[in-house]
C-alpha cells in the first residue's frame, strides 16, 4: 500500500500545526464558533448531539495494521473504548474533547493518517472498491488513481469552499462495490479498444434529499489527462453550482438543471482550456504511486484445500469470503453486524485484534467497506480457520454478509444532531428478528439500509429494503422503501406508503419478506422478485 515520502509527511504535519493554531485561537476567543466551524469541519471535527465527533480518513478504505492498532489506541485514550466505521470507509469517534484534537491528529500523523477534508464543503476522502488489488475480475488496481486524486484534492486551493461537499469514488471492476454512480463524481477505470487504461467519468450522482444516479459524462479520459479533466469538472461546479440553497447545492442539482449535455459541454470547454495549463502530473508520478501497490509476496504453491468440517466455520466461509485472484487465497470480510449489535461499531480491543490478524495473516493490510465491515484482503486458505477462530473468540465471526442482518445504519438520533429518528434500535430489532442462521439462509441476499433523516447517510435509497426515519409531530416514524440497489444495476427505492412506528416497520419487513418467499422463482434474490412482480403485492400485504 501507499507509503508517505517526506513531502506527504510534511503536509500532514503542517496540517496538525495549522489545526493546533486554530484550536488555540478558538479557545482564546479570537475565532467565534461561526468562523471556526467551517475550519474544524475541514478537519473532520463535528459537534454532535452529545459531544465533538472526529472523523478520521481511511483513504480508499485501505490501512495497515500499525494504523489500525493506533485507531484502537485512540479509542481507549481519547474516546470511550470504541469507534464507528462509516459508509465512506472512514472511522469516527463519538466522545472527543476539542482540546485533545490537536494531539490526536499528531498521533495519527505518526502513522501516516489524518482527518483532512473528512467533512466540509470540499473534496472528501476518496472511496474505492474494498476488494481492490485482490478481486479476481478487476481490470487494474484502482487505488493508485485514487491516491493520485487524493493528493490533487488535498488542500486544492481553488476547491476548498465549494457550494457543498464533494464525494469521489474510483473503481476498476464490472462489479461495483463502491456505489460509484451515487457519488458526485464516479470514476471507473476501463480498457479501451487499443488496450489502454483510462478513466470513465460519471458526474452528478448522490443520495440525500434528491437521490440521483450519475450519468456518464465521458467514455475515456487518458491517464495523462486525469487530473486536468477532474479539475475541469470541479471548476464548472465551483463556478455554477447553486449557492442560494444548501439543499440544492450538490453537483447533482447542477447537472440536473443544466441537463447532462450542457454540463458536459461546459466541462469539455473548460477541459480544452485547462489542457493549455501545465497542471497535469507526469505519468512517472502515477508509476511511482503504482509501485506502492504491487502484489504482496503470495505463495505460488499455496494450497486450495479448505477443511470445512466445522459447520460454523463452513457457514462463515460460504457467507463472508470471496474468491481471490491468487490461487490458495481468499478475501475474508469481518462483519461488524453481530445480531442485536450496533452496525459498524468495534471496541478498541476488537480493532487491535483485527490489526494483529491482518499483520499475521493478511500481508499487513485491512480494508474498510462502505457497508461498515472490515476486510482481510489476502488470507491464505491454510490460515483461514485460525483467523476465524480468533475472530470467533472476539465476537467477530457473524456469518451474515449481504444478508438481512448485515444492515447499514447511520448513527441516527442516538448520536447525530441532524437526525429525526433513531436508526440503531431499528437495526437491532431487525437483526434480532431475522438474524438466525435459518431465517437468513431462507431469505438470502437482502441489503437493508437505514437512515435517521433525509440526508441519507444510511443509504436508504439504495437498499433492497430501505428505511427512512422521520419526525412525525415529535414522534419517531419510519418510512419503508423497496427496490433500491447500489451495484452495477443501480436503482432508487420507492416508498411503500404511510410510515410506521419502530415495531411496525419491523412487522412490515416481515410481511415483505413473506411476499418475496411466496413469489420467488428459482434463485431470485429479494430484489429480483421485487423487480419482476412490482410494488403492488408488497403494498397489499403490508397495508391490506
Amino acid at each position: 500500500m501507499y507509503k508517505y515520502d517526506e513531502y506527504d509527511q510534511q503536509m500532514v504535519d503542517t496540517r496538525v500545526a495549522e489545526f493546533r493554531d486554530q484550536v488555540r485561537r478558538r479557545l482564546a476567543g479570537d475565532l467565534t464558533e461561526d468562523q471556526f466551524k467551517p475550519l474544524r469541519l475541514q478537519n473532520g471535527l463535528y459537534l454532535q448531539l452529545h459531544a465533538y465527533m472526529l472523523r478520521v480518513a481511511v483513504p480508499y478504505g485501505t490501512l495497515n495494521s500499525a494504523q489500525m492498532t493506533l485507531l484502537g489506541d485512540i479509542a481507549d485514550k481519547y474516546d470511550r473504548g470504541y469507534g464507528h466505521f462509516t459508509t465512506r470507509q472512514n472511522i469516527q469517534y463519538n466522545w472527543i474533547k476539542l482540546e485533545d484534537t490537536p494531539d490526536i491528529l499528531a498521533e495519527l500523523a505518526k502513522v501516516e493518517m489524518h482527518a483532512i477534508q473528512t467533512s466540509g464543503n470540499c473534496i472528501r476522502n476518496i472511496s474505492s472498491d474494498q476488494f481492490a488489488g485482490a478481486a479476481a475480475e478487476e481490470i487494474v488496481d484502482p487505488r493508485p488513481y485514487a491516491e493520485l486524486l487524493r493528493q490533487w484534492s488535498s488542500f486544492h486551493p481553488e476547491f476548498l469552499v465549494l457550494p457543498r461537499k464533494f464525494k469521489i469514488a474510483v473503481i476498476a471492476s464490472e462489479t461495483d462495490r463502491a456505489a460509484m454512480r451515487l457519488h458526485d463524481i464516479g470514476i471507473k477505470m476501463v480498457k479501451n479498444d487499443a488496450g489502454e487504461i483510462g478513466a470513465q467519468f460519471y458526474a452528478g450522482g448522490g443520495m440525500g434529499r434528491t437521490p440521483m444516479i450519475a450519468p456518464l459524462i465521458r467514455e475515456f479520459v487518458p491517464l495523462d489527462q486525469l487530473i486536468t479533466f477532474s479539475e475541469a469538472c470541479l471548476r464548472v461546479y465551483n463556478r455554477y453550482g447553486r449557492r442560494d440553497n444548501k439543499y440544492k447545492a450538490r453537483i447533482k442539482i447542477l447537472v440536473h438543471e443544466l441537463g447532462r449535455d450542457e454540463y458536459v459541454r461546459q466541462v469539455e470547454e473548460e477541459f480544452a482550456h485547462l489542457l493549455t495549463q501545465p497542471i497535469e502530473p507526469p505519468l512517472a508520478e502515477l508509476e511511482r504511486i503504482k509501485a506502492h501497490f504491487v502484489d504482496p509476496g503470495f505463495d505460488a504453491n499455496a494450497s486450495d484445500d479448505l477443511d470445512l468440517t466445522d459447520p460454523d466455520f463452513r457457514l462463515w466461509v460460504e457467507r463472508n469470503t470471496h474468491a481471490h485472484k491468487q490461487a490458495g487465497y481468499v478475501i475474508a470480510t469481518v462483519s461488524l453486524k453481530p445480531i442485536g449489535g450496533i452496525p459498524g461499531d468495534a471496541t478498541a480491543d476488537q480493532i487491535r485484534l483485527m490489526a494483529k490478524l491482518a499483520k499475521d495473516y493478511s500481508f499487513d493490510e485491512l480494508r474498510v467497506t462502505h457497508a461498515q465491515n472490515i476486510v482481510f484482503p489476502h488470507v491464505k486458505k491454510a490460515d483461514l480457520y485460525t483467523v476465524w477462530k480468533a475472530l470467533d473468540e472476539a465476537g467477530l465471526s457473524t456469518a451474515n454478509l449481504d444478508t438481512v442482518g448485515d444492515i447499514i445504519a447511520c448513527p441516527g438520533l442516538d448520536y447525530c444532531s441532524l437526525a429525526n429518528a433513531r436508526s440503531i434500535p431499528v437495526a437491532q430489532k431487525i437483526s434480532e428478528r431475522f438474524g438466525s442462521a435459518e431465517r437468513q439462509a431462507e431469505i438470502g441476499e437482502l441489503k437493508l439500509k437505514i437512515s435517521g433523516c433525509i440526508n441519507a447517510c444510511g443509504h436508504h435509497h439504495a437498499g433492497h429494503i430501505g428505511i427512512l426515519g422521520v419526525d412525525k409531530k415529535g414522534l419517531e416514524n419510519y418510512q419503508l422503501l423497496l427496490g433500491g440497489s447500489e451495484g452495477a444495476d443501480t436503482s432508487l427505492g420507492q416508498i411503500t406508503g404511510p410510515g410506521f412506528t419502530e415495531d411496525g416497520v419491523v412487522d412490515a419487513i416481515e410481511k415483505a419478506t413473506e411476499v418475496y418467499l411466496a413469489n420467488k422463482e428459482g434463485e431470485e434474490r429479494f430484489l429480483d422478485t421485487y423487480r419482476r412482480i412490482g410494488m403492488a403485492p408488497f403494498k397489499e400485504a403490508i397495508y391490506g
Binding site: 510534511q10 503536509m11 486551493p157 501545465p278
Partner: protein, 144 residues
C-alpha cells in the same frame, strides 16, 4: 474603501475606483474592476490590456467562486494587482495567494502575526495552479 492590509507587489498601488463587470465593458476609460461572486470573470478577457486593478469581492469567505475568477484571469495572462476584498479569514490567505491574489483588503483587519504565519504555512503544495509560480510536489519528485 477598505484598506489593503497585505500586498505582495513591488509596483505602485493602483487605487482607481473599481466599477462593476457590466460597467467595465461599457466605460472604455475604466482601469479597475470589481468582480462579484456571480460575475463571469471571462467577460473581462477582451479588455485585459486596460485592466490595472482587479478586486474580487468575498461577501462571505465560504463562497469560493472568487478563487476560480482570480485563477481564470491569471491563466489568461492578467498580470496586474489581484485584490481580495471583504470577508477574508486568516486560514484561507495562503490558498488565495495560490489562486493568483497578491493584495488583501479584509473588511476587518487581521491579526498581523497570525496572518504572516498563515501566508508562510505551506512549504510545499500538492497541485500546480501555475498562476502562483510554485512547483508542485510531483514536479519536485520528478525533476525534469
Amino acid at each position: 474603501m477598505v484598506d489593503v492590509q497585505f500586498r505582495f507587489r513591488e509596483d505602485e498601488a493602483v487605487n482607481d475606483p473599481a466599477v462593476t463587470v457590466d460597467a467595465f465593458s461599457q466605460q472604455t476609460n475604466a482601469t479597475a474592476v470589481r468582480i462579484e461572486p456571480g460575475d463571469d470573470a471571462r467577460d473581462l478577457l477582451p479588455h485585459l490590456d486596460r485592466l490595472a486593478l482587479v478586486e474580487v469581492s468575498f461577501p462571505a469567505w465560504t463562497d469560493g467562486r472568487g478563487y476560480s475568477s482570480a485563477r481564470i484571469l491569471r491563466e489568461a495572462g492578467y498580470a496586474g494587482e489581484m485584490r481580495a476584498v471583504g470577508d477574508l479569514v486568516i486560514d484561507m490567505l495562503s490558498h488565495l495567494r495560490r489562486c493568483g491574489f497578491d493584495a488583501f483588503a479584509p473588511e476587518k483587519a487581521l491579526n498581523e502575526e497570525d496572518a504572516r504565519n498563515a501566508f508562510d504555512r505551506w512549504d510545499n503544495v500538492y497541485q500546480a495552479t501555475v498562476v502562483d509560480g510554485r512547483q508542485a510536489i510531483w514536479a519536485k519528485r520528478h525533476p525534469a
